[in-house]
Structure formats: C-alpha cells, structure tokens
C-alpha cells in the first residue's frame, strides 16, 4: 500500500500522501455510487470534510483526479500483468479467469473503469494517461501484426466488453449474481471452442 502512489510520480510529504490517499478513497466511492459525470469536486471535498481550496491544491479538476485514480486502479488490479498472459498463451482461458475475477473480486474497480472509458473516450485533460498506457503496453504493436493473434485479441476485447456490460447491469454495492457469472462462463466456452 505504501508504494501504491509511487506510479503517479508525486513528491509528496507523508502528510500530503495521507491526504492524497483519502482523496482517492472518497472520489472512488462517489464515482462508483453516482457515476463520474454526476459527481462534483464540491461533493468530494464535502465527503472529505476539507475545503474546496484544499482539494484544488491537489487536483484543479475532477477530470485530472479521475485520470490519476484510473492509473492507480489499473495498477491495483494488475491489469497489464494479467493481460500479457494472453500474449503467450494462445487461448482465452486466462482472460476468462480474469474476467470472472473482475466481476467477483474487483467489481467496483471494474465499474469505475467502465465509467472512465465512456466519460473520456480518448479526449483526456492531459497526456498522463496516454503516456502511462503506452509505457505499459509497449509490446502491443508487435502482437497486433501477428495475424494469428489478431482474432484472439479481438475475441478478448469483445469478452472484456461483455464483462463490462454485465458490470453495468449491477447497481452500486450490488454483488454479481451467480446467473451472470454463468452467462459469462458459457459465452467464454463458445469463444474458446
């Protein structure tokens, strides 16, 4: 947990780090409860019981906060480590397992990621996210020129999208029912066959 924020590159004092972590926790809860679009910086400040000015010192806008949070969450769920597994294994099994884990162990995180993808859709307030993604998926371009893996990658992306749509059917705080898990497993079974 101590090094979790290191990926973001801030030179925080211990006190600042502590507040930054609290900002992320409060923002994450609100984003998942209400959605990214509906949450305001004022609401985040209120939940933290700090002034808007204090929050502004860390994040001038909700959008920049969301960018940092997204990076943190991708790290937390080990997004890239898990996905590189399908580069080396020509099957969707690992991805299926990951998708099921997203619905059972990381559902709020996955719901946030879905919100993020749609809220921004490639028009981000700064370069931080794109830079981060490029540094993490450096080998992706090479993989895509291999035609045998292209179809796999597309099935994989579709599966992630399917998992995302399942997550969106669930209300904040609701856990994923077994019937949805079964649905995903059956779809995976078709794709792998």
């Amino acid at each position: 947990m101590m090094d979790e924020l290191a990926v973001l590159g801030y030179q925080d004092s211990p006190t600042q780090q502590k507040l930054r972590r609290r900002i992320f926790a409060a923002a994450f809860d609100l984003f998942v409860e209400q959605g990214l679009a509906a949450t305001t910086a004022q609401q985040i400040a209120d939940r933290l019981e700090v002034s808007r000015r204090t929050l502004y010192n860390y994040y001038p806008s909700k959008d920049e906060l969301a960018i940092d949070l997204q990076i943190l969450i991708l790290e937390r769920i080990q997004w890239f480590q898990r996905l590189t597994a399908i580069n080396s294994l020509p099957s969707l099994k690992e991805l299926e397992q990951f998708c099921l884990t997203l619905l059972t162990d990381f559902l709020p995180e996955w719901q946030f990621i879905g919100q993020f993808d749609h809220y921004f859709y490639e028009s981000y307030p700064n370069d931080k996210y794109v830079t981060y993604m490029r540094s993490r998926i450096g080998t992706d371009t090479a993989m895509l020129t291999d035609k045998s893996l292209q179809s796999l990658m597309v099935d994989g992306q579709m599966l992630l999208g399917y998992t995302q749509r399942i997550a969106m059917r669930l209300a904040p705080g609701e856990t994923c029912p077994p019937s949805f898990i079964r649905e995903l497993s059956q779809v995976c079974a078709r794709l792998v066959a």
């Binding site: 990214l36 809220y119 179809s151 992306q157 579709m158 992630l160 999208g161 059956q186 066959a193």
Partner: protein
C-alpha cells in the same frame, strides 16, 4: 430515406416549427455523437444551432426529453437502413447483426451516437422507456424468428432466447470495445483486418452448437 425524414414527422407541427424541430433534433444527434449525453446540455445545443435557449425551451424542456423523441427515431432509421432495401433479407441470425454493424462501419457518427447513447441509458435507465434500451430493443425488433428458422430450431424456446441475448450482448460489447476503437487504431496504424470479418467469426461461434 435519411435520418431527418424520421425526425420531421414526430409532432403535429406547423411547417416552420417542423423545420426548426428537425434542425434541433439533428443538431442534438450530432452533439451526442461528438460529446456523449453526459457532457451535453441545452446550452451546448443552443450554441450549435445558433438558436436562443428560450427558443429551444419552446420545443423541449430538457435535453433528456428531446432524446425521448430522438432515440426511437434513430433506432428505427438504423434498422431500416440496415435491413430493408433491395438486398435480400439476411438468412442467418449472424447476418442480421452483421448488417447492423456494416451500417455503423460506414457511418461513424451513427456508431458514436449508438455507443454513447447506450452507455448513458445503462447508467440512467429512468429517463427513457425500457423498450428502448438497446439490448432489449434489438431482442424485440429484429426478425429473429425468420432467420433462426433453420438454425437452433431444435432448442427449446428459452435456450433460443438465451443465444440471441448472448449474441446481442456480444455484438454491443464488440461495438464498444472493438469497432469504436478500431477506427482510431486504423487511423494511427493503417492495416488491421476488417472489423466486419472479425465480428462475423465471433458471432458464428456464439450461435454454433458446442462440439
């Protein structure tokens, strides 16, 4: 038929009002395709159309109420353009969805609108009829019975509906994560196999019998 044709007959308007209303609806469609509904308001629409906010309020009190008019018309347009016309009717359930996909691949604005609107409706199901949620709409409005006639007919009804549901969800997921991003990717990197071929392969797997 073009989209404005579907928009101009929604109300019993005088000719002048009809013209303005159609302009409004088309502008809203373009705005949502560009920005998504989360980031769009009547103020943005006023800017885009050059009309005063007061004028807009004469037609619609909010952008959500405007969408209650706009969305069913766009869906109907999408289905008509994809499935009617001189082409023979699709002969398989995959072909039905592939036709819909083809329309979107050739009309980026429509693709963006469909994906962004669907996401908004999933997050805010309260402001539009549940029948217009994309998944439900496609399940009920497409000619499944005709195209499924020779396929899967031995399965009980419940299972057939389940297969259709998976294919629709898979198709929509594909739109969101592949088609939507593919164009951006193709712009940057050039070659990538046809999104249409890849969708076809995936849908086929979802409808096939397991070995």
């Amino acid at each position: 038929m073009h989209l404005p044709d579907y928009l101009s007959t929604l109300h019993d308007d005088t000719p002048t009002r009809r013209k303005t209303r159609t302009e409004l609806l088309v502008a809203a469609y373009q705005l949502i395709a560009r920005e998504g509904l989360f980031n769009s308001t009547i103020v943005d629409l006023a800017k885009d159309t050059g009309l005063a906010r007061r004028t807009l309020y004469n037609y619609y009190p909010s952008i959500q109420e405007l969408c209650a008019d706009l969305h069913p018309a766009v869906l109907r347009y999408w289905l008509d353009v994809s499935l009617e016309g001189e082409n023979a009717q699709p002969d398989s359930p995959e072909a039905t969805l592939e036709r819909l996909h083809q329309t979107l691949l050739s009309d980026t604005e429509l693709l963006r609108y469909i994906v962004k609107m669907d996401f908004y409706l999933q997050a805010h199901p309260e402001f539009i009829s549940p029948e217009l949620q994309l998944s439900r709409y496609l399940q009920q409005s497409l000619p499944w019975e005709a195209t499924l006639a020779l396929r899967l007919q031995h399965l009980p009804e419940e299972e057939r509906q389940e297969r259709i549901h998976w294919a629709i969800e898979g198709f929509l997921a594909y739109l969101e994560r592949v088609s939507f991003r593919l164009q951006a990717y193709q712009r940057e990197h050039g070659d990538f196999p046809s999104a249409a071929e890849l969708l076809s392969q995936t849908l086929h797997k979802l409808f096939e019998e397991p070995k």
